[in-house]
């Protein structure tokens, strides 16, 4: 209860701000519509309003404020519009839609749930590939000076390549060499998620202090024993911290990989929404994606608690 208080207060503040911001953001179009409908607005013509200050317009036409929260294609949809769209495109679509769960027996492609699922599966696959590759690379880096010196700088450079910008092209190229379905998106996901894992795991695998590794030496432990008995357990807190970042990155990767809209997914949904000027649709997909990220991060947090409990819950 004590913890929920501030969040609720902040949420309220955000909603209030949001509603307030929607007024000047949308006023111009509202006035234009009102003018078309024959109402008297000041200034009277769109040309005059074009360079007018938005706040000034609001003050000059206070009667039109409620219209800014009820537009069809708002610049900034009001919270209840987004919530309504979310409700429509998840629950209502599945219940009532021609292709919804109730009527067709499978999730509707006009609803968001199917797209969230598509994105989620690409994210999961990409995350597994990326995290796995990241861990292996980190192990290599920790064990080989040459690997460290040659690969590490390029791992950094690799992240300065605007992969997000290349994603569509890569997906196309992969598609043309026969990689289809989830895999091309997962490759982008993996590319974005491997880096945080490498950085975190290199730190984590090096976390044991000199004494802990020296002890291993006095027992004449093999490299493999040191890895499994010391480095890996010691790296767990670092691993989970980076996995949380990585899973969020993987989600972004999957969404970006959906830019070529074949196959659907939340990314395709957002873009298609933007092609057809469906603002509410973009916002709904956007919020669902953020919620998905929150769930994924929370899931990793759960795994973390479980693992740390099994490891004595010290950290």
């Amino acid at each position: 209860m004590i913890r929920a208080g501030p969040i609720l207060a902040m949420l309220l503040a955000v909603f209030a701000l949001w509603y307030a911001a929607a007024v000047p953001m949308n006023i111009r179009e509202v006035l234009t519509e009102a003018e078309r409908a024959g109402a008297a607005v000041t200034p009277a013509t769109a040309v005059e309003r074009r360079d007018a200050n938005a706040l000034g317009l609001v003050l000059a036409n206070p009667g039109q404020i409620s219209g800014t929260w009820a537009q069809d294609r708002p610049r900034l949809p009001a919270p209840h519009q987004v919530a309504g769209e979310l409700w429509q495109s998840t629950v209502m679509e599945e219940i009532e839609g021609r292709r919804g769960l109730l009527n067709s027996g499978s999730l509707s492609n006009r609803g968001l749930l199917l797209h969230a699922w598509i994105t989620l599966s690409a994210t999961a696959l990409g995350f597994l590939i990326g995290a796995g590759a990241g861990i292996l690379l980190a192990i290599g880096i920790v064990h080989s000076k040459t690997m460290e010196k040659s690969v590490m700088p390029w791992a950094i450079v690799s992240q300065t390549v605007p992969i997000v910008a290349l994603a569509p092209m890569i997906v196309v190229v992969l598609y043309s060499v026969g990689l289809q379905g989830l895999l091309p998106k997962a490759v982008i996901s993996a590319y974005l998620s491997f880096f945080p894992v490498v950085v975190g795991m290199v730190k984590g695998l090096r976390a044991p202090d000199a004494m802990q590794t020296d002890l291993m030496r006095t027992w004449d432990a093999s490299g493999w024993q040191v890895l499994t008995r010391l480095r890996l357990p010691a790296s767990m807190p670092y691993l989970f911290a980076s996995l949380k970042i990585a899973v969020a990155a993987a989600l972004v990767g999957a969404i970006v990989g959906e830019l070529p809209v074949q196959g659907g997914g939340l990314g395709a949904r957002m873009l298609a929404g933007s092609y057809y000027g469906q603002t509410a649709q973009i916002w709904a997909a956007l919020f669902l994606a953020a919620a998905l990220a929150a769930v994924l991060v929370a899931a990793i947090g759960g795994a973390q608690r479980l693992a740390l409990r099994r490891m004595g819950g010290a950290a």
Binding site: I7, V157, T160, L166, M169, V252, G267, M270, A285
Partner: protein
């Protein structure tokens, strides 16, 4: 077949040279330390060139590095203008505004538990908003020019910077804080003389992460509308024109700029956090 053997031989040879450079008697020389990653990069480029030529990959799929280099050299003025537009205007101003705002917010969040409890979860939610969705909206709000790119960058860098700075500000040990208290230090004194210096390693961690994010944000935002220049513009239009060499030349600019940007921040970090164990080597 012979190309495969040639590639393999080259790979093994260069790798062996690298092993020797990295672990051999010269390993501590500065030039050897620089040479190792460069040699690794060179190896990849050579293998790329061989692969593209041997497999006769169509130019419109993947051009060889030599052609990319030639295109880069021939298009310097265009690429320079793109660089100025995307990185000089969009990324840089967004980076400064976003990181600055996050820094100040972090100080407020650190001061008021209420904000920490209320704002941090919201900020993390905001961080999860994918750029693909936010960019079109921000382009719609802020117009086609660099301002909308800066806005996208602000949204992208805000959260990582906030989280890092908040973590950094609470990085002091109880003893360090107690000392301040025992001297009767006020809030601002504690902030300026203790918490901010102690936070610097984290602040720079955030600043480094944000360099690449800023770059990516500015470029991707250009997909959703831009004037007729900029790296993102160049990449998309060139893909459309099948000028893949130009696409890669633009990517090269982005990677060079990103690496330079990152290196610059890392350099400043060295100067500011010289005292931190990770910098003392």
């Amino acid at each position: 077949m012979s190309a495969a053997i040639l590639a393999l031989a080259l790979w093994l040879g260069l790798w062996a040279l690298n092993v020797w450079l990295a672990t051999g008697p010269l390993a501590n020389r500065i030039w050897a330390r620089m040479a190792v990653p460069l040699l690794f990069g060179l190896t990849i480029l050579v293998l790329w060139e061989i692969a593209v030529r041997a497999l006769q990959v169509p130019l419109v799929i993947l051009p060889p590095p030599s052609q990319i280099g030639a295109r880069f050299g021939a298009s310097l003025p265009v690429l320079w203008a793109d660089f100025v537009q995307t990185i000089g205007r969009g990324a840089l101003s967004g980076y400064l505004i976003g990181c600055g705002a996050a820094f100040l917010t972090a100080i407020a969040v650190d001061r008021f538990v209420f904000l920490k409890r209320g704002l941090l979860p919201l900020a993390s939610f905001m961080a999860a908003l994918p750029i693909v969705g936010t960019a079109p909206i921000l382009v719609m709000w802020f117009g086609f020019d660099w301002q909308s790119k800066a806005a996208v960058v602000v949204v992208m860098v805000f959260f990582p910077m906030l989280v890092n700075t908040v973590a950094g500000l609470s990085e002091t040990t109880a003893m360090q804080r107690d000392l301040m208290k025992s001297w009767g230090a006020g809030y601002w004194q504690g902030l300026l003389k203790l918490r901010l210096p102690a936070a610097m390693p984290f602040v720079f961690n955030g600043l480094k992460i944000c360099t690449t994010l800023a770059l990516i944000g500015a470029i991707v935002a250009e997909f959703f509308g831009s004037p007729t220049l900029g790296l993102g513009f160049r990449i998309t239009t060139s893909v459309g024109q099948l000028a893949l060499d130009m696409v890669w030349a633009a990517i090269l600019v982005a990677a060079l700029a990103g690496t330079g940007f990152y290196g610059l921040v890392a350099l400043i970090e060295r100067g500011v956090t010289f005292w931190h164990p990770s910098q003392r080597g």
